[in-house]
């Protein structure tokens, strides 16, 4: 059966249900959120319809600037760490036998699917005084007594790298597994060591993939909403945490919505950049 253009209204039938669901339960909620971002806060309930830009004007404070700056810095750091660890790892993984690859993919998917709540709980246990890694260091005589390693910036960063690393590897996997093996063979035949071939041939050939992955992981890390709360101090809170906090605990939906719209704009701009980078790669 060749692909054909739909001729009659009946040919569109399969689209009705998915189209309806996506419009009613995604486009409408999304638009509602944008509308709410212009509403006025109503301390007794949720909000009252209005048109004010106060919610956006609040962005122009040093506090908000600080949170935004910290969120971006943290997300960049997570993206760089993840790609630095994940890229060579994924490359080596794709050169292993299929069985080994499958085993790793199952493990990575299992970690990736874990709830942020569970990741936060697991790392806060690992970094705690009573059940943490410092007990291990005490046992082998490197430390005098166990200490708590949280709440610290290091704990937040570790937790977020843990959350994003499986994602990074799975984003890189398709590009690396399809990499033309003759490219590497040529480099090896010409006398390059495997390490040299990796840095001088594989990495430059996938320059755009690396940039696209950095952006994807950056957006992914921007979305982390619990780990900074569980593993860090209030000064380590990110934009996502602040949105949740404003929406749930301060019941200031309009301000939360305004911040969310702002976060959408940042994410969309970055995802758009990824698509552009990807297109250039395909054109080559």
């Amino acid at each position: 059966m060749r692909r054909e253009a739909p001729r009659s209204l009946a040919d569109y039938t399969p689209l009705f249900f998915p189209g309806l669901m996506l419009i009613v339960f995604f486009v409408v909620p999304f638009s509602t959120m944008i509308a709410v971002s212009f509403f006025k806060r109503n301390p007794s309930g949720f909000y009252t319809p209005d048109f004010v830009i106060d919610n956006y004007a609040r962005f122009l404070s040093t506090f908000f600037g600080g949170v935004l700056g910290f969120s971006l810095m943290l997300a960049v750091l997570v993206a760089v760490c993840c790609v630095a660890i994940g890229f060579p790892f994924t490359y080596l993984l794709t050169r292993r036998p299929r069985r080994v690859q499958t085993l790793w993919l199952v493990g990575l998917l299992s970690v990736l699917s874990l709830s942020e709540v569970i990741i936060g709980f697991a790392w806060s246990t690992l970094f705690s005084r009573t059940a943490g890694i410092t007990n291990l260091l005490v046992a082998i005589g490197l430390m005098d007594k166990p200490v708590a390693l949280l709440p610290t910036f290091g704990a937040v960063l570790t937790g977020m790298v843990y959350q994003a690393l499986p994602y990074t590897i799975l984003v890189l996997y398709p590009a690396l597994v399809r990499l033309d093996p003759t490219l590497l063979e040529a480099a090896r035949t010409l006398g390059a060591s495997p390490v040299r071939a990796f840095f001088n041939v594989v990495a430059p050939a996938l320059r755009n993939t690396i940039v696209a992955t950095l952006i994807m992981v950056f957006v992914f890390a921007l979305g982390s909403y619990l780990l900074p709360q569980i593993l860090g101090r209030p000064q380590h809170w990110t934009l996502s945490v602040l949105i949740t906090d404003q929406a749930i605990y301060q019941s200031n939906m309009p301000f939360a919505a305004a911040m969310a719209v702002f976060l959408v704009l940042i994410s969309l701009a970055l995802v758009g950049m990824t698509l552009l980078v990807g297109r250039r790669e395909n054109a080559l």
């Binding site: 339960f25 936060g120 690992l126 690393l165 909403y225 969310a260």
Partner: protein
């Protein structure tokens, strides 16, 4: 030789990093007394039993499973006709629905969650259990959509043409040729959505968090009142379910293909 050892060391370190928190949580979960110590003191599986015997944990488990079973089913019901239409017809503007199906998953989850919160609050349905089911179905529709698109792309069109030449109409082709071929992709799409829905926190919290507890919400609420080995046991339970589901997909299907090892147009 040195390179092999270096690679093993590297893989070992990554494996250790990924497994370390889970090992500690598993260790903590078998403590015999109600405290979190590692290495564990004594050995007891009582905390695992508590997931099923303690009324609050059991209720949370039932909520989570109901939510995951229903929302994954609706997600597949949305994704299947859409993926089928995109494969069968040439309609460039219909790609907008594909973008809509992918968007909830790519955007930061807080945004999708907040969208649902403002929507259900405005509609006056805030806090009802079915709102979480629909929200999760939309949030995770991406997964069956991606696996089903891969599945349709893998179908050899000449098979379908042969069936059509021999007189099968669209419906018969769909039932006897297309559906059996994409069944593995349908099952994996359902499984992905199921596992992620089971683990999902923020959307569930912003839709039904004030009235109902799912397992992740229950764990988060319990975090504030101190840690108990039961939370560790539930976490281990989650890891086990995920490993079991993804392990079965790998066993009965081609997980490398699902994750993009072959390009979607088959070359």
């Amino acid at each position: 030789m040195i390179e092999t050892w270096l690679r093993r060391l590297y893989f070992g370190l990554v494996a250790l990093f990924l497994a370390a928190p889970l090992i500690v949580v598993a260790g903590v979960s078998v403590n015999s007394r109600q405290e979190l110590t590692f290495p564990p003191v004594g050995f007891s599986l009582a905390w695992y039993a508590q997931i099923f015997t303690d009324p609050e944990w059991r209720l949370a488990l039932i909520h989570s499973v109901t939510l995951a079973v229903c929302s994954a089913a609706i997600a597949v019901a949305i994704a299947l006709p859409l993926a089928w239409f995109l494969w069968r017809r040439i309609a460039p503007w219909a790609n907008i629905f594909q973008v809509l199906g992918l968007a909830p998953f790519i955007l930061p989850p807080v945004i999708t969650a907040l969208g649902f919160l403002s929507f259900w609050a405005t509609a006056g349905l805030f806090g009802q259990f079915f709102t979480a089911i629909i929200s999760h179905a939309i949030f995770f529709v991406t997964l069956p959509l991606v696996t089903l698109s891969l599945g349709f792309a893998s179908i050899d069109r000449s098979l379908v043409e042969a069936a059509a030449t021999m007189g099968a109409d669209d419906r018969t082709v769909l039932k006897t040729v297309v559906l059996p071929l994409i069944l593995p992709y349908l099952v994996s799409g359902y499984a992905f959505a199921f596992v992620l829905s089971l683990n999902e926190y923020i959307v569930a919290y912003m839709t039904i968090g004030f009235t109902t507890e799912t397992l992740p919400i229950k764990i988060f609420n319990a975090l504030r009142y101190g840690y108990t080995p039961t939370m560790a046991a539930v976490s281990v339970f989650f890891v086990a379910v995920a490993a079991l589901v993804f392990g079965s997909i790998a066993r009965f299907g081609d997980i490398r293909r699902l994750l993009g090892a072959m390009s979607s147009d088959g070359n």
